[in-house]
């Protein structure tokens, strides 16, 4: 496979599933969501209990508690009911939302046609993801793929559209980089994401982006590939809210940090490993106080049915309905909240000028 010859210049625009738009039209934006998704594990990566009959029961009140506590439930892992998802998404629109960044990518059920239809029917802008998620969901031949090969796939999704639909990805992500230390495949995926970003000008959103100090190695790779830091979102940054010294070191690189797993409905490791939203809000308030309001973005990371309102979760409107008021109570000014919800996402999502790969 070779990269397309002509790379369109989307410099200064945001690429949604319905086409490029002016960044000033996005409105309040949640930077990390899933609307159509299939997180059931592939056969080579099954979790304990994945083949048990109870894992195949539909998700109901009867098994909600154990699913919240991490029991595998296949129904919980799939978003495919358009009508139900439209109703969920509409809650974000009702709460004043304008744009959803949908970071489902390869291997986890990305559905370009449904996202396009969702954008039409919901009236929201939707930005679609590209690239590879975590190693669990990598294709079986991932170890044989070169950086340039991976880069080509991402570039095509951004330039030509995904899966023959013509629906174009507007962000590379969520790029899985969570193993400690990062695997060779993750490192190649990271580098390919950086290279595709430089070639197309597209932004990148990371799932973790390296554990601890390895985040700096990931950012070094992006520098080598020539990615503009203002196009980089370091997702799942929750613990930075309680480690401000580390947050400052990441922020010094000029990237965005994303607090994106609020209102969690539970966890496979018990409720106790979850970072309380109040601590996240407090950390954000402190960072804003220190002058970092321009580098913070938010998302719910709705990725299991138990996070949907229909299934007892808080859905896509918890941030506007509950989290932002909490930030205000902690003294975060409206100006900073506008930056976090509107200006920062617009800046992060705006394409840079395309440039030839340095690779």
């Amino acid at each position: 496979m070779t990269a397309p010859q002509t790379i369109p210049d989307l410099n200064g625009q945001v690429l949604t599933v319905t086409g490029p738009v002016d960044p000033s039209t996005l409105g309040a934006t949640t930077m990390h969501e899933h609307l159509f998704l299939d997180l059931r594990r592939p056969p080579q990566s099954l979790r304990p209990g994945e083949n048990e009959p109870q894992a195949r029961e539909p998700l109901t009140m009867a098994n909600l508690a154990r699913t919240r506590h991490g029991a595998v439930n296949a129904d919980n892992d799939v978003f495919d009911d358009f009508g139900m998802m439209l109703a969920e998404v509409d809650e974000f629109r009702r709460a004043g939302g304008g744009t959803i960044v949908e970071v489902t990518n390869l291997g986890i059920g990305r559905d370009p046609a449904s996202l396009h239809r969702m954008a039409r029917e919901s009236g929201l802008n939707i930005v679609m993801g590209a690239g590879w998620y975590t190693p669990t969901f990598h294709p079986l031949d991932m170890d044989e793929r070169t950086v340039d090969d991976l880069t080509d796939v991402i570039v095509r999704d951004i330039v030509e559209g995904a899966d023959g639909t013509g629906v174009r990805a507007g962000i590379i992500g969520e790029v899985g980089a969570e193993t400690d230390p990062l695997t060779s495949a993750e490192l190649r995926s990271v580098r390919a994401s950086g290279r595709a970003s430089r070639i197309t000008g597209a932004p990148i959103s990371f799932h973790v982006g390296g554990v601890g100090e390895e985040k700096f190695a990931v950012l070094d790779i992006l520098d080598e590939e020539g990615v503009d830091p203002s196009n980089v979102v370091m997702g799942h940054a929750g613990t930075m809210a309680v480690d401000l010294a580390f947050a400052r070191r990441i922020l010094a690189r000029g990237v965005f940090i994303e607090f994106d797993f609020v209102a969690s409905p539970g966890s496979p490791w018990g409720h106790l490993v979850l970072l309380g939203d109040h601590k996240v809000a407090r950390g954000i308030a402190d960072l804003v106080e220190e002058g970092y309001a321009g580098q913070i973005v938010l998302g719910h990371d709705v990725c299991q049915k138990i996070q949907l309102k229909r299934y007892g979760g808080q859905g896509y409107s918890y941030i506007p309905d509950h989290f932002l008021p909490a930030l205000r109570r902690l003294g975060v000014a409206d100006e900073a909240i506008h930056a976090i919800m509107v200006d920062n996402p617009a800046r992060a999502l705006t394409f840079a000028a395309p440039a030839p790969s340095r690779g």
């Binding site: 009140m61 508690a65 409905p265 409720h271 490993v273 109040h278 509950h322």
Partner: protein
């Protein structure tokens, strides 16, 4: 003064006096049968408690269907508690909130879980009668939960004096909620102990809010009373300023300061959404989630036994009555 049956050295369950050693893992402040909706301001008309409403309810939006528990609602959850090694629960529903002594006795028989019933209302005489004669033969096993009391209010002061008096006359354990300020809580402990309550049988509830203030917790424990963390099982929303990690850290910090024997643990199960049948954590939360988390932090078995069994058992054991 009537001569009271001497329950010293025993725990009073709804099935009668029992050996403290028999309780095993005990959660110390839950509800089995209640009707809390009777005393809450509710939004709108009652509606069935369907899954799509759980999210809003989790954000503390009161609801009639949610705020009542029946024996039928909780039976499976109590059985689940037993399956996880749970031996006893302390049931703290006041008579004004729908306490139903016969139903508690029946639930205990059906599930094999010992139930210690609280008594929270009335004069010293009424408390003593509840502890010694009971309702239809079912006797209360502790005074509480009480409060939070404001001792500047005459009525609240009278309640505190009645509690102290009843504790002195029966040797019963006491559960009072933490008062509005640290000073007020200490004054309450003063009043209770001066009135004859044994500090070693007093538990101060709702200490979760102090999780970040280990000094304050240690000052309470230093009085010889129990500090009770009774809101475990939270999911993280912005309305929960303390999380279970904070409580776990506080527990370990207190233990490190020599106060391990002054700690009580309980999940918060007071409404349907606390039950597993409605997506909640249930009565088994401490055994299922909190203990493994403490183990993960390096807590040894001896300390876990102290926290989950020995402390509740000691707290609930009646001392000598002093007429």
């Amino acid at each position: 003064m009537t001569s009271l049956p001497n329950g010293a050295g025993r725990v009073m369950t709804v099935a009668g006096p029992t050996d403290p050693e028999a309780l095993g893992h005990t959660v110390t402040s839950v509800h089995l049968v209640n009707a809390v909706h009777l005393v809450n301001d509710l939004n709108g008309a009652p509606a069935p408690l369907t899954m799509d409403r759980l999210g809003a309810l989790a954000l503390d939006s009161p609801d009639e269907a949610d705020l009542r528990l029946s024996a039928e609602d909780v039976r499976a959850d109590l059985a689940d508690f037993a399956e996880r090694g749970g031996g006893a629960v302390v049931e703290v529903t006041g008579t004004d909130l729908g306490r139903r002594a016969p139903e508690l006795a029946r639930l205990s028989r059906e599930t094999g879980v010992a139930v210690v019933m609280g008594s929270a209302s009335g004069t010293a005489e009424e408390l003593v009668r509840d502890l010694t004669e009971g309702v239809d033969g079912v006797r209360a096993g502790l005074i509480g939960k009480i409060g939070p009391l404001d001792l500047d209010q005459a009525a609240d002061r009278a309640v505190a004096l009645a509690v102290a008096d009843a504790a002195r006359r029966t040797g019963a354990p006491v559960l009072v909620e933490r008062a509005a300020t640290a000073a007020a809580t200490h004054t309450l402990i003063d009043l209770l102990t001066e009135g004859g309550a044994d500090p070693g049988r007093i538990a101060v509830g709702h200490c979760d809010g102090l999780a970040a203030d280990v000094d304050a917790l240690a000052e309470l424990a230093g009085r010889g009373v129990f500090v009770q963390f009774d809101e475990l099982g939270r999911l993280p929303t912005v309305y929960r300023e303390v999380d279970d990690q904070d409580v776990a850290a506080a527990v370990l910090a207190l233990a490190g300061r020599g106060h391990a024997e002054r700690i009580l643990l309980s999940p918060r199960v007071s409404q349907k959404i606390g039950l597993k049948g409605y997506g909640g954590v249930g009565y088994g939360f401490v055994a299922q989630q909190f203990v493994p988390f403490l183990q993960f932090q390096g807590t040894d078995d001896a300390l876990l036994r102290t926290l989950t069994a020995a402390n509740p058992s000691r707290w609930l054991t009646f001392t000598e009555a002093r007429g």
